[in-house]
């Protein structure tokens, strides 16, 4: 459904020029977009966030990826919704996982089984 015009349709058949450009715009390029005053706050770092930062850097150190690639994956490939919605280091660890699978270091099923195993480890506690 296209709610605004009440015509049943599966998906858009056309994208007008300016809308196309907006869709293609790399999500991380936010300089100059309007936003509201907020309380700029500090955040105490979680242990998992420090671990994530170190894991991502060490993967770079050992040549598995480079930081430019990390930024591309974490700041663009996620898409705008997850880019705005996920925690900062959530994007980092998501990108590291995705990269390991993309580069065939691990298979997706191996990864999912590991996640399930880690989860059950903590549930047993």
């Amino acid at each position: 459904m296209q709610p605004a015009i009440h015509i049943p349709q599966n998906w858009n058949y056309e994208t007008p020029g300016p809308l196309y450009r907006a869709y293609m715009h790399p999500p991380h390029d936010v300089g100059g977009q309007p936003d509201v005053p907020v309380h700029y706050e500090e955040k105490e770092e979680e242990q998992w966030e420090l671990n994530t930062y170190v894991t991502c850097e060490v993967l770079g150190w050992r040549g598995v990826w480079n930081a430019c690639e990390r930024r591309r994956r974490a700041d663009n490939d996620l898409g705008y919704t997850l880019y705005l919605g996920m925690p900062y280091y959530g994007r980092w660890i998501w990108s590291a996982a995705r990269m390991l699978i993309d580069k065939k270091h691990i298979s997706l099923t191996e990864f999912l089984e590991k996640v399930a195993e880690v989860k059950s480890r903590y549930e047993r506690k």
Partner: protein, 107 residues
């Protein structure tokens, strides 16, 4: 199977000379903007002045995809804020940011 990584220490300096020097007027290119770029939308098509030559390296659009492309000169370009933003009210304010050679044209 791991990807080849071009480390900082293994990059060789490029043979092609830097096209610009400090003080040159340059305009930021506006290539189609898909998948990834570190050339900000707000700077595209705007004219500024070379403030510094920084280093030579792969451009981010290549490095982000592990593409061993040409190594280029990077520059810090200074803009008047009034040239970047139509409504900007203060005459003296400026903004600086950095671009590789290919993202700049002589102005």
């Amino acid at each position: 199977m791991s990807e080849n990584k071009t480390t900082e220490t293994s990059r060789k300096p490029d043979n092609s000379p830097a096209r610009f020097k400090v003080g040159d007027r340059v305009r930021v290119t506006d290539l189609p903007n898909m998948f990834y770029s570190r050339t900000q939308l707000y700077a595209r098509g705007v004219t500024g002045t070379i403030a510094a030559c920084t280093y030579q390296d792969l451009i981010p659009e290549h490095e982000a995809f592990n593409w061993d492309g040409r190594i280029e000169q990077f520059y810090i370009v200074r803009f008047r804020q009034k040239d970047l933003w139509e409504e900007y009210p203060y005459e003296n304010d400026t903004l600086q940011t950095e671009f590789p050679d290919r993202w700049l044209d002589p102005a």
